[in-house]
Symmetry: C2
Subunit: 344 residues, 2 copies
C-alpha cells in the first residue's frame, strides 16, 4: 500500500478478506489502513467474525464503517479512498460512492489477487489434500462406471465421494460430458445417458478448508470416432510439452504458446479456443491467467492448471488437465492420475 501510495484500502472479495483476516463469509467489507484493519459483517456473521478475525476491529454496518473511515480521512487530511476491484460488485461500488460524499473512491490494482497467486507451504498442503480427495473420487467412480447411466449420476457419484471423504464441497460444478456433448468445454452434467463408443470429458475438483483442486481426464467407452484417438495423442503431447517447459521466470503467454503452437502444427488450432490454464487456490480461477494475452510471470509457489483441449463440434472433445506447482527449477505435478488413454 505504501509503495502504491494508498492509505485506505477497501476490500469486498470474500477470498481476499479470508486471506487477510481469517473470516470467511458470503458477504463482508473490510478496510485496511497502514496500521489498522476493520471488518464489517452483518448480524448473521458477528459471532463467527469475532472468532475468526480477532485482529480486526468489527463494525456492524457499511454505514458505520464509512463513518469511521471519514473520521480517519479527516485526520489524515485526504479525501482519497481506494478499493480493490476484485470481488467488488457495481452495486457495492455505487453504495460506497454514495456513503462517502466528497471522497474520491478509486480502483486500485488487484493487490490481494497478486499476493494470493504465490502460495505458502500450508496453502500448498491444502491444495494437495484437495487434489488427493478429488483423485480418490475419480478412481472409485471410474472403477464402477457403466454405460446406461446419466452424466448427472456419474457427477453425483464423484461429488458424493469427495464429500464423504472430507471435502468442504466440490470445487465447482463437476463436468461430465459424454459423446458429442464432450465438444462443449464447459458442458454441465445433464440427463443424457453414457453410451457405448462415447468419449467422456470429466472435469472436477474438491475444496478442502477453502482451497481448491482442478483436474480433467478424458476416457473412452469402447471405440469413439477415430479422429478422437488422434486428438487424444495431440492433446497429451501438447500438455507434456508445456509441463516439460514450465519454469519460473517464464511469461504465461510463452507457456500457453508451447501447447498452442504444437496443436496448430497438427492442424487443430481453431479447435483449442480457450487458454492453457489458470491459477488455483481460494478461487478455482485466480491469478495467474495462462493464455495468449497474459504477460504475468510464473513464480515459485504459483499453482496453475495446464489443460489443453481440442473440441470437434458434433463429434466430441478431449481435454487433459493437470494441476502443478511452480518450483524453483520447474514444476511439481500435484496430479497423480495416469494420462494413458483409458478404454472402458
Amino acid at each position: 500500500m505504501t509503495t502504491a501510495g494508498i492509505d485506505f484500502l477497501l476490500l469486498a472479495g470474500k477470498e481476499d478478506i479470508y486471506y487477510l483476516s481469517g473470516f470467511y463469509g458470503s458477504r463482508a467489507l473490510a478496510l485496511v489502513t497502514v496500521d489498522s484493519a476493520f471488518l464489517c459483517v452483518d448480524f448473521r456473521y458477528t459471532e463467527q467474525a469475532e472468532n475468526q478475525a480477532s485482529a480486526c476491529e468489527l463494525v456492524g454496518s457499511p454505514g458505520v464503517l464509512c463513518s469511521r473511515l471519514k473520521d480517519q480521512l479527516a485526520a489524515a487530511k485526504t479525501n482519497k479512498v481506494h478499493f480493490d476491484p476484485n470481488g467488488m460488485s457495481y452495486l457495492g461500488y455505487a453504495e460506497l460512492v454514495e456513503a462517502l460524499p466528497g471522497c474520491e473512491v478509486l480502483p486500485a490494482e488487484q493487490m490481494i489477487r497478486r499476493l494470493r497467486a504465490v502460495k505458502d507451504s500450508s496453502e500448498i498442503a491444502l491444495i494437495a489434500q484437495a487434489q488427493q480427495l478429488a483423485e480418490a473420487s475419480y478412481t472409485k467412480v471410474i472403477a464402477s462406471a457403466q454405460c446406461g447411466r446419466t452424466e448427472r449420476a456419474l457427477a453425483a457419484d464423484m461429488d458424493c465421494a469427495m464429500l464423504q471423504d472430507g471435502a468442504d464441497k466440490p470445487a465447482f460444478d463437476t463436468i461430465v460430458a459424454a459423446g458429442a456433448r464432450s465438444s462443449m468445454p464447459h458442458a454441465s452434467a445433464g440427463d443424457d445417458l453414457i453410451c457405448q463408443d462415447d468419449c467422456i470429458v470429466i472435469d472436477w475438483g474438491a475444496r478442502r478448508k477453502h482451497y481448491n483442486s482442478d483436474t480433467t481426464r478424458t476416457v473412452f467407452y469402447g471405440n469413439p470416432d477415430p479422429r478422437l484417438n488422434e486428438v487424444y495423442d495431440i492433446v497429451l503431447q501438447a500438455q507434456m510439452m508445456a509441463l516439460e517447459a514450465a519454469r519460473p521466470g517464464m511469461l504465461c503467454c510463452e507457456l500457453d504458446d508451447i501447447a498452442r503452437t504444437y496443436i496448430e502444427s497438427r492442424g487443430y488450432g481453431d479447435c483449442f479456443g480457450h487458454g492453457l490454464g489458470h491459477g488455483v487456490g481460494l478461487e478455482v480461477h485466480e491469478a495467474p491467467i495462462v493464455n495468449p494475452a497474459s504477460r504475468e510471470v510464473l513464480e515459485p509457489g504459483m499453482v496453475v492448471t495446464v489443460e489443453p483441449g481440442i473440441y470437434l463440434p458434433g463429434v466430441g472433445g478431449v481435454r487433459i488437465e493437470d494441476l502443478v506447482l511452480i518450483t524453483e527449477n520447474g514444476i511439481r505435478n500435484l496430479t497423480g492420475l495416469s494420462k494413458d488413454r483409458i478404454i472402458m
Copy 2:
C-alpha cells in the same frame, strides 16, 4: 424498457441472462434492444449457447458486442447505454466504460430482478421439486443421525442424498451447526462433533434445473439448555403468526414486523438480527427482501422464505424456516416437514 426510456440494455447477471435467453453459464454478457438480443460468450460456451439461446444473435467477445452496439447507437442517434446492475461486477462495468468511449454507461433499475420475483407455474413446479428433494434428504438423514458424528459428516450425508435423488447440487453450503455453534446464523458445517444435549440448526436446500429451495429446521439431541425450549416455542409462534398473516398487497416490512414484534414482546428482540426472509428462485437470495426496511410489496407468484430465529451466544440458537408461495388469497406453504420440536 420503453416505459423506462431505455433503448439499449446490457446484462451481466448469469441468472438474469438464463431467465431471458435460456443460456446458463458462469460468464456472459447480453445486449437487449427493443427488437433484438445479442449474447456474448467465450469459446467454452459457443456450442452450448447456440443450442440454448437460439433467439439471440451470438457474438464471440465483449469487443465485438460493443462494436455492434456502437453501430446501433449511431443509427439511433444516441450515446446512452444502460446496464442492469444485478450481477455486474465493478471490473465488468469498467471494461464497458472503456470499450464505449463517448457513451454514457448508466445503471438502470434492476429490471430483470423484478420480473424474476414473480414466478410462473413452471418455475413454481421446479422450486417445489427442489423442495421435495431437500425434504427427502432431511427425512433420510435425520432418521439415522447419531451423536458422535461431525457437523460436516451430517451435511455431507444431506448433500449426497440430494445429489443422488437428482438435484443439480445443493442450493448453498448446507449449514449444520451444533451446540453453542448454533447461535451463529450462518455457521459453516465444521469438524465439531454432535454431542448429547446439543441443539442443532440445519439450513439446507436443493437446486433442480437451476431453481432452488431453502428450509431450516432446529432439532434437539437430548436436553439442551432449557432456555432453548422457550426460544423454540417463541420462534415457532412468531413464524406461525407471519405465515398466517402473509398475503398479496402486504409490504414486506409489514410481514417482517409481525414476527419481529412478537419476538420483541417476549424479550428477545436483540437476538433476532436478520431479516425475516427473502425471495428464492434462480438465486437463493433474490427479490423480494423481507426485512424491516423493505418497501417491496408481496404479489401472487412470489416465493419467499419465512425464517425467524433467536440466537443466544454461548448457548445456542433456533431458526425455523419455511418456503412459501404467495397466492391470490394468502400463501401455499411449499414446505411439508413437521415443525414439532424433535428430540432425538
